[in-house]
Symmetry: C2
Subunit: 395 residues, 2 copies
Amino acid sequence: MFLDFNFSSIPHIIFGAGRLGEIYEIIPKFGNNVLYVIGGSSLKKSGKWDEIRYEMQKRAINFSEISVEGEPTPALVDEAVEKFRNKKLDIIVGIGGGSVIDAGKAISAMIPKIDSIKNYLEGVGNKIHDGKKIPYIAVPTTSGTGSEATKNAVITEVGIEGFKKSLRHDNLIPNYAVIDPQLVISCPKSVSAPCGMDAFTQLLEAYVSPKANPITDALAKSGIKQMKDVIVPVCNEKASNITARAAMAYGSLLSGIILANVGLGIVHGFASSIGGLFNIPHGVVCGTLLANSTKMNIKRLEQLGAEGENGLLKYAIVGALITGKESFEDINVPHYCSVLLKTLEDWTKQLNIDRLSKYGITTTDIDDIIEKTSLKNNPIHLKIEDLSEILISRI
Amino acid sequence: MFLDFNFSSIPHIIFGAGRLGEIYEIIPKFGNNVLYVIGGSSLKKSGKWDEIRYEMQKRAINFSEISVEGEPTPALVDEAVEKFRNKKLDIIVGIGGGSVIDAGKAISAMIPKIDSIKNYLEGVGNKIHDGKKIPYIAVPTTSGTGSEATKNAVITEVGIEGFKKSLRHDNLIPNYAVIDPQLVISCPKSVSAPCGMDAFTQLLEAYVSPKANPITDALAKSGIKQMKDVIVPVCNEKASNITARAAMAYGSLLSGIILANVGLGIVHGFASSIGGLFNIPHGVVCGTLLANSTKMNIKRLEQLGAEGENGLLKYAIVGALITGKESFEDINVPHYCSVLLKTLEDWTKQLNIDRLSKYGITTTDIDDIIEKTSLKNNPIHLKIEDLSEILISRI
C-alpha cells in the first residue's frame, strides 16, 4: 500500500552560529537545578565552559558537571546515576560529541530507575524502558552521529563478551537540540573526517532503507545536498568556514532525524559488532566500510533484476545529487551508481580514513565479527561471503 | 548568515490506510479515562463511532464524548472545559475536520486552567499559555488544515467584534497524529475541494515565507509533489481512490508541519480577518483568494528587481514542480510563474470554489476586512490598494 509509515517526534531544534547562548533561556523553563554532561577537555580549553559557568552563576542556577571520555560504558552511566539520583535535577544538558550526547541521554533516562542500564539495553537486558526521564538538551560539538535527534543512546562494553547496544525509547529524543556550528570550528580533521563519513553513511543508509518514506527521503536528499560539497573541504581549507561547518552540522542533524525513523543498513551493522569487540571510533568503522559496503549492495541489487531496480535507482539518485543534478527522470542508473561509488572511494582516500588493521583487527577476527553482525535495514540480503569480502577489503 | 532556523517538535505520526485502530493501543499508555471530541454526524453515520465505542468497552476504558459543529467558539471551549475539568481525563482524542481537531486541542490545553480561553488568545487576551495540557491524539477526517501537526488552535467569534485568533504554544502540538486516509473517503466534494486548496495554500505560503528553511523547503516540495496530480481528481473520479486520498492527507499533514514552523502569508491573513467577520468556511477563503493573491505577490516581486528574485524563483520552482519538473537550474522563471498562476486559476474553476459574495461579503466590507488583515509572513509587502484589488477580484 502506498504511503504507510510512522514518524517519531523530533526535538525542538535551534540551529545557527552563536545560538548556544539560548540554552540559558531554555534551562529556567524546566527549573533551577541542572547537570551538565561534557567531554574531556576541549570545551574547557575553548573557554566555552567558563562562559557557561559564568552565565549559570549570573542567573543563580545550581549546576553540576560530569565529564565523559570515550564511548559511554554501563559502569559510567550507572555511577553517574548513583551520584545524581537524589539531587532533584530539573534538566540535563549534554555538550560534546556523540559519546557525550549519548551519555547524557542515558543518564537522563536512568535517573528515574533503580537498577543498572545493562538491564534495559537491547539484546543485553530483558527490561523495557518506559520512556520516563529527566528533560534533556543536546548540544553537539561534532557533526557526526546526529544523536541530538535520535531516540537511542549507544552504550559500549569492549571485549570478548563486549557489546555496543542501545537504550531506546521514543521519549528519549532530546527535548531540545541546540546546534551551534561555532562549537564545531575547533574540531580537528582526525575527528571531523570520520564524523562526516558517519553522517553521510546515515543519510545514505536511511535513504535506501526498506522502511524509507517520503518524509525521510525528502530530508535525506536535503542533507546530502548540503554535505556533498563540504565533506572534504571542511577537513582541510574550510575548517574555519562557518558556512561549511553549518552545512555539515545540518547534514548530521538530518541524518539523526531520519535514522531514528527508518533504521540503518549493513555499515551500521558492522559498526555495532566491531565496536563491541574492538576499541575503535564509531566514525572510523563507518567511514572505512562505506564505499565497499555500498559497492557490494549495488552488485547484489544488480543481480536481482527487476526486484533490485528500486534500490539501484535510489543509489543512482544519490550519485546524481552529488554531481549537482536534481532531475531524476530517465536517469542513467549504472552511470550514477558508478559516480556514487567513485565519490565514496575518493572521500575515503582524501579524508585519510584509517583501515581496520590500525585498531588491531586482522583476518582472524572476521568470523567473530560476522557472527555478531546484523543486516539491520539493509536494502538487500548479503551472504557471509559478501560480508567477509567487505571486511577483508578494509583490513 | 546561512542556515539559521528553529524547528518545533512534531507529533508522533502514524500514517496509513486502516491505521485508526492503533489509537486503541496508544490510549492505554496514557491511562484509562478518555474524552473523544468528534464532529456532527458523519463519524456516527459511517459506523466508525460504533466501532470505537465497541473497542473502548472491550478494553474497559472509560470514555466520554462531546460533539463540535462548526468552527470552535470561546463559549464552546469554555463549556466543555467546565464540564470535564474534574473528570480526571488521562487523554483526549479529537476525530474530525480542522474545527474538531482545534476544539480538542483547545480543550486539552484549557482543562488545567481556571479561566476563559479568551484570556489566552493572541490579540484578544493578555495571558500567555504555559503549554500545560492533557495529552492529545489528533485524527483528521479531512485533508485540509494540517491541524494534526500544528501548535495552535484557531478559535472563532463571528461578528463586528468578532475574531479568528489562535491559542498557541509549542507544547500544543498533538502527542500523536493518526492519519488514516480511509476516514477521508466519504468526504464530499463541497468539503474536499476547499480543504485541498487550504492545504495547498499552506504548502505554497510556507515555501515562499521569509522564515522558510531547508527542512521546511524539502517538506513543502514533497507535499506539493504528492498533491499536484490529485487535488482535482480526488474531488471527482478519484473520490474513492485510497492512493489519491492518501496523497492529499500527506500534503495536508506536511502543510501543518511546516506552517507551524515558518508561518503563512497574505491568504491566511485574509482567512483570519474575513473568518472573524463572516460565517464562511476557512478553506473557501483560502481557495478563492489563492490564485489572485499569488498573482499580486508575483507582480510586486517582479517590480522589486534583484531583491525580488529569490521570491520569484521559489514561485517558479512550484510551477515547475506542478509540471513534473525536478531540475531547477537555469529555470525559466517568468514561464513557470505563469504556469503556477494558470494552474491555480484552473483548480479554482474546476473545484467550483465559491466567491466571497456567496457568504454575504460585498465591496462595502473591504475596508473593514483590510483593517483587520495582517500580512503575516508574506514574501513581500502589499499596499492597501493591492489587498483591495485581490478582494474585489473574488467578490
